[in-house]
Structures are given as structure tokens and as C-alpha cells.
């Protein structure tokens, strides 16, 4: 008796469910509604991000005829040119080197402020954090060219040194690789500091107190507890700085000479200057794949560390 009523009940419920489906009534969190909500962003991403990169990949096999003209006759000439001409690989290596140097300098110089802001007992800590965010609001172009006022022939350093009689001729500090790295450092340091700071904020401070109470010196507590726990933020910052530096265009343009151009400038000149679209597309895909490779390594590594963290916690 009980069995059959239960079955009856279940049948009724199923019936109700089917009726709802037949009425086409939407459930509270219906996936169809979700798709409608994300549709604008999805369309934008497809037409402005996915499709362009796909078309660009196809373009690398097009034939370059003359400036601005290409045919869809498929060829591997662009890739052959890229792999055989050391001009391109030289550019790529230089770009990766500059990116790596910038990221490492950012890591070293950025860790101190992040640690300081995290550990300080200064009452107006928010002000230090706000000052880190302010550069994000100031036009990148302006921040970059403002270095000319520091390093230029009439910049602060040269004018001060000349006045003091230390030098007779203005020093040539602009338009070299050092100036480019300096400009990139200026642009990327806030990213690094904020990344490290966020991961420091995530550390349970009682762990450090525990380490100290067990007899660790403050240096040991830092080395054994704080530093390892802040590594995820440091790694994220390094990747971000590396990718952004390697993809930069404006900084080498403003602070470097022709010889200090990076891969982004090469792409721009190939497309906007030489109007060689197939080669420009090839170079863009190369940069995309190379930087994507580093990002993939990072996600893999970070995924591992997340697992370790999960096991430890």
C-alpha cells in the first residue's frame, strides 16, 4: 500500500515536472537565462578576440604580393622567413631578455614595498596603498614621457650635475636599453607590489607569531614562513610583468632608439609601415604563442602549488 502511494507520488511529481517543461516555464536559475545574460560579452569576445586571432592564424599562410596587397594563395613562405632570418629570432630573444630583466628587477624592487606596507604599523597604511593605485590612473604615455624630464639633456639629473660642476657635458641617458627597462619598471612596479601585497595579506599572521615563539629569529621566520607563503603572489607578479613588458610598444618607442625596438614595435612597423600583413600576422602569432607558453607553464606550476597548499591547509 505504502509502496504504491510512494510510486503514485513520484509519478505525480514527474508529471508536474513534465508539465513545467511542456509549458516551457523557466526554472529559477535556468541556463538559458544565463546564456542570454552573457550573450553580449560572449559575442564581443568571439568577434573581437577569438575570431581575429583565428583569422590572423590563417593570414600567416597568405602570400605577400606588395605593400598592402596579398593573395589567399597558401604558402609557408612567411614561416620560412621567420625561422631562417636571424633578424626575427634576434628580435624575439632581445624582447624576451628585456622582459625577463624587467620582471626580475620588478620582483626584487617590488617585494620590499609590499612587505613594508603589509608589516608596518603606520596608521595611514591606506595612503601608501592609494599611492600605488594612483599611477594606474595616470596616462601611461604621460608617465613614460615624463622620464625625459628626468633623464633628458635638460632633465633634472643633467641640470643638477652641470650646476654642481660634476660634469661639463650632459650625460646621454635616454634612448638606450637601460632607459627602456627603467620606463618599463616604472610602469610595472605597481602591478608587482600589489600582487605580492595581496598574497602577503592572505597569510595567517599567527603562523609568524608561532614561529617566533618557537625560537625563530625574525629573519628565520621570514625565510621559513612569510617568504614561501608569499611566493604565489610573487610568481603571479613576475608573469604579469614579463608578459606586459614583452608586449610593450610605447615605452621602447619613446625612451629607446631604433636599436632598442622590441617585438611589439617590429609588429607595428611591419603592418603599419611596410603594410606586409601576412608577415605582421605571423609575428603576432609568434608573440602570442611564446607568451602563451610562459603563461601555460605558470598555470601548471601554480596549479601544483595550489594543490600543495590545499594539502597543507
Amino acid at each position: 500500500m505504502k509502496q504504491s502511494s510512494l510510486r503514485e507520488h513520484k509519478r505525480l511529481e514527474e508529471g508536474a515536472y513534465i508539465r513545467v517543461r511542456m509549458n516551457n516555464r523557466w526554472t529559477l536559475y535556468d541556463p538559458r537565462l544565463a546564456w542570454m545574460l552573457v550573450a553580449p560579452v560572449l559575442l564581443l569576445l568571439i568577434f573581437f578576440l577569438v575570431l581575429p586571432i583565428a583569422v590572423m592564424a590563417a593570414y600567416t599562410f597568405f602570400t605577400f604580393v606588395t605593400a598592402g596587397v596579398e593573395t589567399s594563395a597558401l604558402t609557408t613562405a612567411n614561416w620560412q622567413e621567420f625561422f631562417t632570418d636571424s633578424y626575427y629570432s634576434g628580435f624575439l630573444l632581445k624582447t624576451l631578455r628585456v622582459g625577463a630583466i624587467t620582471a626580475l628587477l620588478c620582483g626584487v624592487l617590488g617585494y620590499f614595498p609590499a612587505y613594508f606596507i603589509w608589516a608596518t604599523s603606520f596608521k595611514h597604511k591606506w595612503l601608501l596603498l592609494l599611492l600605488l593605485i594612483v599611477p594606474f590612473w595616470i596616462s601611461f604615455t604621460i608617465r613614460t614621457f615624463s622620464w625625459i624630464n628626468i633623464l633628458g639633456e635638460q632633465g633634472v639629473i643633467n641640470v643638477a650635475l652641470l650646476k654642481m660642476g660634476i660634469i661639463n657635458e650632459p650625460l646621454q641617458m635616454l634612448y638606450n636599453e637601460g632607459a627602456v627597462i627603467l620606463g618599463l619598471l616604472h610602469f610595472l612596479l605597481p602591478y608587482m607590489i600589489l600582487n605580492v601585497y595581496v598574497s602577503l595579506e592572505g597569510i595567517d599572521r599567527t603562523l609568524i607569531a608561532a614561529a617566533r615563539s618557537m625560537g625563530c629569529t625574525s629573519a628565520q621566520a621570514f625565510r621559513e614562513v612569510t617568504l614561501p607563503l608569499s611566493l604565489p603572489g610573487l610568481a603571479a607578479g613576475l608573469l604579469l610583468c614579463f608578459v606586459l613588458a614583452a608586449g610593450s610598444y610605447v615605452t621602447p618607442q619613446l625612451l629607446g632608439s631604433g636599436r632598442d625596438a622590441l617585438f611589439g614595435n617590429l609588429i607595428y612597423d611591419t603592418i603599419m609601415g611596410e603594410l606586409n600583413w601576412p608577415m605582421g600576422a605571423t609575428l603576432s602569432i609568434v608573440l602570442f604563442v611564446v607568451l602563451g607558453f610562459f603563461a601555460a607553464i605558470y598555470t601548471r606550476y601554480m596549479g601544483m602549488s595550489q594543490i600543495v597548499k590545499g594539502l597543507a591547509g
Binding site: L37, V38, L49, S139, T141, N149, T217
Partner: protein, 280 residues
């Protein structure tokens, strides 16, 4: 004995940290300060030493038609970008946090990509696409491109806030007979306001500041503020550029600061009326 030495070491390490921090902050702001100071220089050359105080470069700027046009163009693009990006970004964040649907994980990864892919690549990609389908570069394309660049940040900001809003509030409104739309408008949106304002401000700045991608996407003959500055820099460093930089700093730093202050006072006013909530 060794204890005091260790203490000394710790103190020195801390001092070193403070010193490096100070240097980094000086490094961050010295060029900007120099630019602002130089914009008031009476000298004909865009550099030190200061020869006197003058507002002539600002006056000259006000009569520079190319700069004014570029400024207006950038302002409009940034406004449209801010409004549109916030609208679609907030709705996307809502869907990503509240709903379960196939492909959600892939979408939340895809939506962050425009922030990670170098602008040069995004710029070339879109150009190649419209060349392939034989379309001209238009203002609409430029604005949509800026929306693409800003959308990751708006979605991330709105998502972070959305996670903290419990869905029972919306569901209560729904169970009391509110429509989906009005429960979103009356319950969710007001709770999301900080993220909405923050996202809109960020989208505005991203668009107003964008250089590399705009160089590729702008229609022929159109200059935005950053591309205008770039082309002015190609000619020479005149004090006019320093004045222009100072004005830009005032606009892009002033707007978020004022917005933030307004927001803070708004939330404070609201807090007074609300029962105590869990902190953060």
C-alpha cells in the same frame, strides 16, 4: 649577547626595507612631479632649469585645436566605453556568480584574456579581421575594441562584489512576487553599486588612456588624446606637452578620487541606517 645582535640585525633589515620602499615611491612619483613643475616653466624649452612661473603653456594649449579635438574624442569614447562596459560586465558577472551553465568555466577564463594578451596582438588581430572582410575602420570599431579591453576588469570587480551578496535577498523579492528584472534592479543593483561605480571609473580610465591598440584601430585621421601626445612627442618636447600632461593627470586622477570620496560618503550614509553586518 647573540640575542641583542639578532635584534640589531632585524632592525637593520627593517630599516633597509623602509629605505627601499621610500626609494621606490620616489622613483614612482619623481618624473610626474617634474612634469607638473615644468608645465609652469616660463622657459621656451621643455626642460630645466626653471626660469620663472608662467601659465603661457596652458593658454597655448587652450588654443591648440588638434589637442582640443583629440581631448573631446577621447572623452566621448571613454564615456561610451564606461557605460557600455559596465552594463554588459555587471550582467555577465551576475550570470557567472548566480547561475550554473555548461561552459561557465571556459567563459570566465575567456573573459579575462583581453587583459592578458598584449595589446599589439589584439590590435593586429582585429585589423586583420576587418581587412579580411573588407570593412573600413570606424569609430564604432574603436569603441567596441575599448569595451573589449575594459570588460575583464569590470567583470572581475563586479564578480568579487557579487560573491558577497547573498542570493536569499533576491529570492525573497522573487517569492514576494517581484519580477526578475525588478528584483535585480531593486535588490541586486543597489548592493552592487560600489562595484558598478568602481568598474565604470576603471573602464573610463582604461579607454581614455589606451594607446597601443588605438594606434591600430582608430579611423583614418582620428586622433585620441594618447595618440595625439605620441605624435606631438615625435616632433619635439615642448613645455606645452608638460602642460597637457598635467591637465591629463588632473582629469584621470581627479575623477576617480572624487568618485571614490562620493562613494565613501554614500556608503557611510547607508551604513548608519543598516543593522550591523559582518565586517567585509
Amino acid at each position: 649577547m647573540s640575542g641583542t645582535r639578532r635584534k640589531e640585525e632585524g632592525r637593520w633589515a627593517w630599516r633597509l626595507t623602509g629605505f627601499v620602499t621610500l626609494c621606490v615611491y620616489i622613483f614612482m612619483f619623481a618624473p610626474i612631479v617634474a612634469t607638473v613643475i615644468l608645465s609652469f616653466n616660463a622657459s621656451m624649452f621643455g626642460g630645466f632649469p626653471m626660469t620663472g612661473f608662467s601659465l603661457q603653456w596652458y593658454a597655448k594649449l587652450m588654443n591648440n585645436d588638434a589637442v582640443l579635438t583629440a581631448f573631446r574624442t577621447s572623452l566621448w569614447i571613454a564615456l561610451v566605453t564606461a557605460v557600455a562596459t559596465t552594463a554588459i560586465g555587471v550582467v555577465t558577472a551576475f550570470a557567472l556568480v548566480r547561475f550554473e551553465f555548461p561552459g561557465k568555466q571556459a567563459l570566465s577564463t575567456l573573459v579575462i584574456l583581453p587583459a592578458l594578451v598584449p595589446e599589439t596582438i589584439l590590435g593586429v588581430g582585429l585589423l586583420v579581421l576587418i581587412k579580411a572582410i573588407d570593412q573600413p575602420r570606424t569609430m564604432l570599431l574603436l569603441v567596441l575594441g575599448h569595451i573589449l579591453l575594459a570588460v575583464p576588469y569590470v567583470v572581475l570587480i563586479a564578480q568579487a562584489r557579487m560573491v558577497g551578496i547573498r542570493r536569499v535577498y533576491e529570492e525573497a523579492a522573487l517569492s514576494l512576487g517581484a519580477s526578475r528584472f525588478s528584483s535585480f534592479r531593486e535588490i541586486t543593483l543597489p548592493l552592487l553599486i560600489p562595484a558598478v561605480v568602481g568598474g565604470a571609473l576603471l573602464a573610463f580610465t582604461i579607454s581614455f588612456d589606451n594607446t597601443s591598440a588605438s594606434l591600430f584601430w582608430r579611423p583614418a585621421g582620428v586622433e585620441t588624446m594618447p595618440t595625439q601626445i605620441l605624435s606631438m612627442l615625435k616632433i619635439s618636447i615642448s613645455p606645452e606637452i608638460n602642460a597637457l600632461g598635467t591637465v591629463m593627470i588632473l582629469v584621470t586622477v581627479g575623477i576617480p578620487l572624487v568618485g571614490g570620496l562620493i562613494l565613501q560618503s554614500l556608503t557611510k550614509l547607508k551604513r548608519r541606517g543598516e543593522p550591523k553586518e559582518e565586517v567585509r
